[in-house]
Symmetry: D2
Subunit: 324 residues, 4 copies
């Protein structure tokens, strides 16, 4: 433990995601078991700059593994992109004795982590976002809960859509990325999915498919639309006008960010939180914990921020015979 940290901080940043509490708990428990002390920084980088910092003994994380949200609160913090603010943030860490810092968040948060690492604070990023849009990892904290939340809501919408023989557009989260939409489209047996990565803007073709399926006797037509495409309400009005079939839009919204985490989110978030502490103990810095190729690994932050990822081929090919 010679090179390791004695006192570490932990913060959650960006949009919250179910499982963040499990990660925070794992950071505290693992660090404590290794003889480190943990400080909780509230409201992400904004709270760091405000020195909104509290001690986190083991009891502070009792009874939180199953809770949605983040007990540390979170915020977006644009200032943190400015070099002089980054200097200041590093100083605050030093003032509070924080030698290592675990940052749970998305790509924006990791840029701050990179900046702090360059300023001498050992930082480890843990991917937390329901959108799955972090290139270096096949798993991000909260995605599994979000897809189940959305899927269960869509199952309910499907019941009533069938009873009324309606077309339903359901808009799920995912501004840049269609992962949630694609998973739900497969899982809910949807008739159509609109993903930002492969949207053809051909609304007429969509309308034609609806008319054709109705002719074949389909009692409902569920369209999963990603937030990145949006406009679900006006799209519904146009479809209803063109087809004569009652069409309703639902925007699932923020409920997708909350809720008690699924088993996978609790377990993976726990392992990632623990891994982050192990890396700090080994004296590592500027790394992101990731899950890739079926294993927990870690990458250099800069390297990770330059990776690309796209919707898996398999899923797209296979969904063609399943979603229709």
């Amino acid at each position: 433990m010679s090179e390791g940290c004695k006192t570490i901080g932990v913060l959650t940043s960006g949009g919250d995601a179910p499982g963040m509490n499990a990660a925070v708990r794992a950071v505290v428990r693992t660090a404590t078991a290794k003889g480190m002390e943990v400080k909780g920084i509230r409201r992400g980088y904004a709270g760091l700059l405000d020195e909104d910092i509290v001690d986190m003994p083991p009891v502070s994380v009792s009874d939180i593994i199953h809770r949605g949200g983040t007990i540390l609160y979170t915020a977006r913090c644009r200032e943190m992109f400015q070099p002089e603010v980054q200097d200041h943030a590093a100083e605050i860490c030093r003032k509070h004795g924080i030698e290592g810092l675990v940052i749970i968040g998305g790509d924006g948060s990791f840029r701050g982590a990179g900046a702090l690492a360059e300023r001498g604070i050992n930082t480890i990023g843990v991917p937390g976002t329901i959108d799955l849009d972090i290139a270096c990892t096949d798993y991000t904290i909260g995605f599994d809960t979000a897809i189940n939340t959305a899927m269960e809501a869509i199952d309910k919408i499907r019941d009533t859509s069938t009873s009324h023989e309606r077309v339903s557009i359901v808009e799920v989260m995912g501004r840049q990325a269609g992962y949630i939409a694609m998973w739900c489209a497969i899982a809910n047996g949807a008739e159509d999915m609109l993903l930002p990565e492969m949207y053809d803007h051909d609304e007429q073709a969509l309308i034609d498919r609806i008319i054709e399926k109705r002719r074949k006797g389909k009692k409902h037509h569920i369209i999963i639309n990603a937030e990145g495409i949006g406009h679900s309400v006006s799209m519904a009005a146009r479809i209803e006008a063109a087809t004569g079939i009652e069409t309703r839009a639902t925007i699932l919204g923020h409920m997708q960010r909350g809720g008690t985490p699924t088993c996978k989110d609790r377990v993976y978030a726990s392992i990632m939180g623990a891994k982050a502490v192990e890396l700090l103990q080994e004296g590592k810095s500027k790394r992101i914990v990731a899950y890739r190729g079926g294993a927990f690994v870690d990458y250099d932050i800069q390297e990770a921020l330059h990776m690309q990822k796209s919707l898996p081929e398999d899923y797209i090919r296979i969904s063609k015979s399943l979603i229709r």
Copy 2:
């Protein structure tokens, strides 16, 4: 069984509601046990007029008690308010040997039931609507499931609202009636509720309450808004502008109509469906099955349609110290 019916029909009408299938199943099972035959009329009165009528042996209702929606489909049918259409509908019933008819739906559907009764078809209404806005009864099929669906969604929104220290407006169903909104406001420990029955249109007072509570340290502010008031998105924009606190609106929408019914909805819907058949067997007509004063009772349809009901005093008084 001398005055009773030998063949009865069953239909679901108006907006669908979880538990309608349990009621349909109880109609079929109870009627079969009493030696009657059952015909299912699909898509409400619209289907009756189209003679979309199927035999319902006991096996047709196997494995449906737990399913949302209605296996008989449903529709709204404006034509059914016209006397000559009502004449025709009664004739179709006679043509198919339907002596008695169980109509599961809301007030609009019961008006049709009254008209058919006057034309010699024995009709019994069963209250099915998630909105609880049928005056003669303290219970309507689907309300219990709808409030639990909404409550669970709001629990999730509350998680993320707290993490981000946001104001959240959640719009729940209820065009004329604030029952869903009031129950959720109590159950979710909301800070404010806006009900059509008692809306003061004083948005400034609402804004003042938000600012005051934030000053006192409240991390979230959940406002439950009933559909009958609506305008949640623009209201959120105005609140954010006035308070400077991030404010988000979610319109829960049609998911509130679906989903597997709760235990109460399955049990009460089953009892009401069975009661409807018992009434037909006794030769009764033009009655609505209701739950009132803690017991299952029945009322004359016309009488029932003229009853009034309002939000219970108790709830309103008590919610004053609980919702704040």
Copy 3:
């Protein structure tokens, strides 16, 4: 408020039930709004005797309405049946300035409440038990959550029971009373129910029904058995031996006592907690808050303890054609 209490206590006693926290929260919030102070007594009467008493400002009940269990802990306390222990308990109340006491629990707990009332402490009972076995009330805190928990588990058991064409015995809670068993039997579309109130001990008749239904093509046979009858495992073995059909027993057990409360349990528990404080404010004592005939009412404790209740006629008659 002249006759009312200035400081009140609240405790939960006997088996815990989902919704107890909502009741505790309503006691604290309502009392605070009326200018009273609240003291929480932990671990029921046992904690009272140990003077395990804490102040409960409004913040102590933040964020608990949706939590299962009871933040005040609970215990059974046999000593409290002894008159000299009751004297001592009343003295402890006086020592801590507790003029009024809200007791959330079952019949056993209410006997203690009656004894304290005779010793000058104003006591109000609130019915909290998942078993619904309190005679004066049609509702007890936790029953609605328990039946939904059991029902959802049985829905899952039914899936696998059908896949394997098995007989399944599911034992639900209810030592003296078959309410949970009866509601689940109706809600899960069970084939048989065994209730302590009307158990005929005729296992051969049960076996004959299983064989007959299998002959008619039924793919599963679900038997809901109440804890008060028990012996599910040995019964399964005997049925398998007699019928040659694979038969499995599941004892649902303590999971039925936990979980986030349903909407009804949160709302009714909130109203009952608030009512209890209103009664104390009016100077009432030795009363139980109840829900009867569709309204929230209150009864004298002694009177309430002598009431009788039995399974509702309606349910039993109707279940005959539904459960089979």
Copy 4:
């Protein structure tokens, strides 16, 4: 498509698992899209031997993706291990024109698949078991649903365990393998886990840990015990006798096999079902579809049956500071 099959069969075998219906649906939909016909074989190999075979047009798999259990029913079939029975089974396939066969099940079922492949029927196995105990794959259909079902039940048990300050032993499925137990122990924040792979039989050490934690103020002590170790009820009695702390056992049982599948189980099962058809189309036989190293792959059946797998190192190391 020259080497591919024109008519394929599909069966589910061994213990049922949530997601099997999604796999069956994907087989039917993908095959239909490729111009193949599908026959459903009911009750696994037992149904094949009985020629319990039905046509599966696309409509036969409508509205099943979200259902637990298997619409094809399942059974264990010991006879299928005998070479002459395998000869007969292959003949029945040929008689019904079944050139390719998708077998959804566990290792036992794959041995039958291997035997049929040697007899000229193209067979593809798809791993379906809640226990995750198939060596060649990191994912099996149903595991994700089972761990969430168990986790949610344990969350509820934990509520009441805390309220009563009890020790709770919860027995989860897993006769040979402790995967469900390990995942739940991490996800539920358990204090102890007993896994068949690493059970030390040192009950005294377990009792000592319970006593020590109680001394430190822990309000509950949850022990997750795998079915393969069992004896939860007698273990609870011994712990209660030794510690004086109330101790209760719950055996979760068959509810873990049912329920609507999670999003992951629906999506992965769909992909695996589709992959199986693609392999048959390519003329492949005697393969198992697997998920390994983060990708969907396939292995020779014999090879797969000889693979070994053990609990992942990471999980075990990390759980040491998390489960305690």
